[in-house]
Symmetry: C2
Subunit: 429 residues, 2 copies
């Protein structure tokens, strides 16, 4: 019996899924474990940066007012009354025609208003004392990094939901976050379905293929910022499968199945959704590959039924699962980042539905260009290794030609977008 | 005493360091732990993909020769003699006017030469048998995915030195790599120097700053694919420091110090290099920030002396340490990827040396544009959180203006480049 399914536009499908997006919780983590995680709170400055007026150079701190008349012809001699390294504080007020030898990063001594760079000062030893000769005049503030010139106490520096890169780590350390509030990672379960699947160490058999999708999805889950939990292959018995899903749902925040959900497959998933009492949000989308992607909702948990075809599975994950993970991690731009580019090769296939071509970005003199990453069938696997973008080719067209403007969804970007699903460039502008 | 140092051009400095680049070793890792690691061998296909002629759709497998005269007006009726799901093999040779119900991914039965999509076949039940009515003619090979059409056994699919992304994982699984040969990560030691440094949980003190560079470098090391080992802060005593470095070198593949090496700092590093008998490759580079970056070599190990200024330290790591780590991981394009872009803001500072401005990429209608990521001083830390590129502004110019072409070095790219150090665009073309 062939079930009739009405394909849903991709943006409606994503919206239906995002209606069930939820935030996770936060946990505290030592700063040396925080790289690659996501901030669960805004980072706030607990002090001015610089925290005090400091010297950006090695040199001599002086009172600029002592150099009003100083010039090459009329040098001024200062007595060096001390030396301070970074981390030290000069104990006294500096008096007229005194200078303090100062190191990069050290606090400007009281009374001083400028720093003379080491290269521009000539040291003179005389009568057991040290002097420096200065040959130009200085303004108040010359060569001083002022307190708060970079950041003021109380400023919000990085927003919650941001991925923690080395620069964010530097900020966290600067502001004393030895413990960092990070988003707790959701746990995503993966069940493979399909009696054609062999485990990786089983010998090849006629008609069978190795279970590549599960491992691919485990890696996609990690890349998206969550914890993957592989729950094995479905058994051949519906009752057992049903209790496998029930059991899985107790252990995970979201559940992915791969394989099945094609019309007419030997496929238990529709029965399982029905027996669970899960609401099927959709089971056909107007997109290629991945048109059979199915998403259901049950007791505050989403069940993603991704295709058994590797490319279709890959695309379904990035479009539907990734934004749910990113939302859980407090990211307010949870979708793939969308940018304009030029199509670098002809794409002659007709396009009844919007197509997400696995592509590769190349740069031509600053012009973003994308080319299909190789063999383009929903069953293709080798092209995925080189894919760093989806080239979005809206449906209803006959072909796309080299040089046409296209929209991309970027897979290696760390920024994301709020909502990329509107007005993709059609075949001809 | 002021030491005179001759600044080395940046490309010469990088070349001097890369002369000491070395490959690491490989280790075997279970595929579920391999995401994010680097391949230590090429991936080779151990079978054709598809491994057998298979159906890309749900439908009916038939002999195309039976449809030569078939048309809408002249339909042909086939008897359905069996049904095969993915993973099964049909046991018999299919005979004239027979059809086999076939599922996506299943092997084409012997004798069959085309697949009729389910939507185009009308099932008829009669006298206890099932028939299908077909209303068009089929060519040999229609709707069949042929053995080897994607990949041939023996093909090299991904080269050693490639980072393992989800697509590469899919390939590894497809070709039965339950254990994956990955590059062993080098261990990079980090020692902080500078008596101004406070640990993160120490209270702030006048003249002192928190030790942010060490944590930043630990994260940069992880991002570059290596294992960071924090060895603490230098003591105040030269002899102790010397034995700290000696001791560190026994535990790590490369050693980074941060802080010191400024001319005139209270700085033990020059003495330590001398006592070790290390060869100092250079101690001044014609670049901003990070001109005091020092690299030394001792008994097959590199010692990187990065600046104490956060931005200078960050840049020094990415230009000098990262390619050494990537080479160790067998990457043949170990340097940052270089691309052309447009400068998105005026940059009015004069430029005696080549400047690496911490920048952010923005896309304008497919045109790559880069803007400075904020406060641009070598001591700046807050801009680093938003930095995803270095804008390379060659020295010897007065200023750069919005709209000018510039070269970028990308920090979030996974491809890298063989050698980006040639002919950067000067201020005016």
């Amino acid at each position: 019996m062939v079930e009739k399914r009405v394909p849903l536009p991709i943006e409606e499908a994503v919206r239906k899924v995002m209606d069930f997006a939820k935030h996770g919780t936060k946990e505290m983590l030592s700063i040396d474990l925080a790289y690659g995680r996501v901030l669960a709170d805004d980072i706030k400055a607990d002090q001015d940066i610089p925290a005090f007026d400091r010297s950006p150079y090695d040199g001599f701190a002086i009172r600029s007012e002592d150099t009003i008349l100083t010039s090459n012809e009329n040098p001024t001699i200062f007595e060096v009354v001390g030396e301070i390294g970074a981390g030290s504080v000069f104990p006294n007020e500096v008096e007229p025609l005194q200078a303090v030898r100062i190191m990069t990063g050290a606090q400007i001594p009281q009374g001083c208003t400028a720093v003379v760079m080491l290269e521009l000062a000539k040291e003179i030893k005389s009568v057991g004392k040290t002097f420096v000769e200065i040959k130009r005049s200085y303004q108040k503030g010359d060569n001083i990094s002022f307190q708060g010139e970079e950041t003021h106490k109380g400023d919000i520096l990085v927003k919650k939901g941001t991925e923690i890169n080395p620069g964010v780590i530097a900020l966290l350390a600067t502001f004393g976050y030895s413990q960092v509030p990070v988003a707790k990672k959701p746990v995503i379960g993966v069940i493979a379905t399909g009696s054609e699947l062999l485990d990786l160490d089983e010998p090849l058999e006629p008609g069978k293929i190795r279970n590549s999708n599960s491992y691919m999805i485990l890696a996609q889950i990690q890349k998206a910022g969550a914890i993957p939990k592989y729950l094995g292959k479905f058994s051949d018995d519906l009752d057992t499968c049903f209790s496998e899903v029930q059991n899985a749902l107790k252990q995970v925040d979201f559940l992915i199945t791969t394989g099945g959900v094609s019309v007419g497959d030997y496929d238990y998933l529709p029965d399982i959704y029905a027996r669970l009492g899960a609401t099927v949000l959709f089971n056909k989308i107007a997109m290629r590959p991945g048109s059979v992607t199915t998403v259901a909702h049950f007791e505050n948990k989403l069940l993603f039924g991704l295709s058994g075809n590797p490319s279709a599975c890959f695309v379904g994950f990035e479009l539907f699962v990734r934004p749910i993970i990113q939302s859980y991690l407090f990211n307010e731009t949870p979708h793939l980042k969308r940018v304009r580019a030029i199509l670098g090769e002809n794409f002659p296939k007709p396009n009844p539905f919007t197509r997400f071509v696995r592509g590769k970005i190349v740069y031509h003199e600053g012009q973003l260009t994308a080319i299909p990453a190789g063999f383009d069938k929903s069953s293709a696997v080798s092209s995925l290794a080189y894919t760093d973008t989806f080239i979005v080719l809206p449906g209803g067209t006959r072909k796309y030609e080299k040089g046409m403007p296209v929209d991309l969804l970027l897979l290696e970007d760390h920024e994301g977008s709020k909502w990329p699903w509107h007005d993709f460039i059609p075949a001809y502008k």
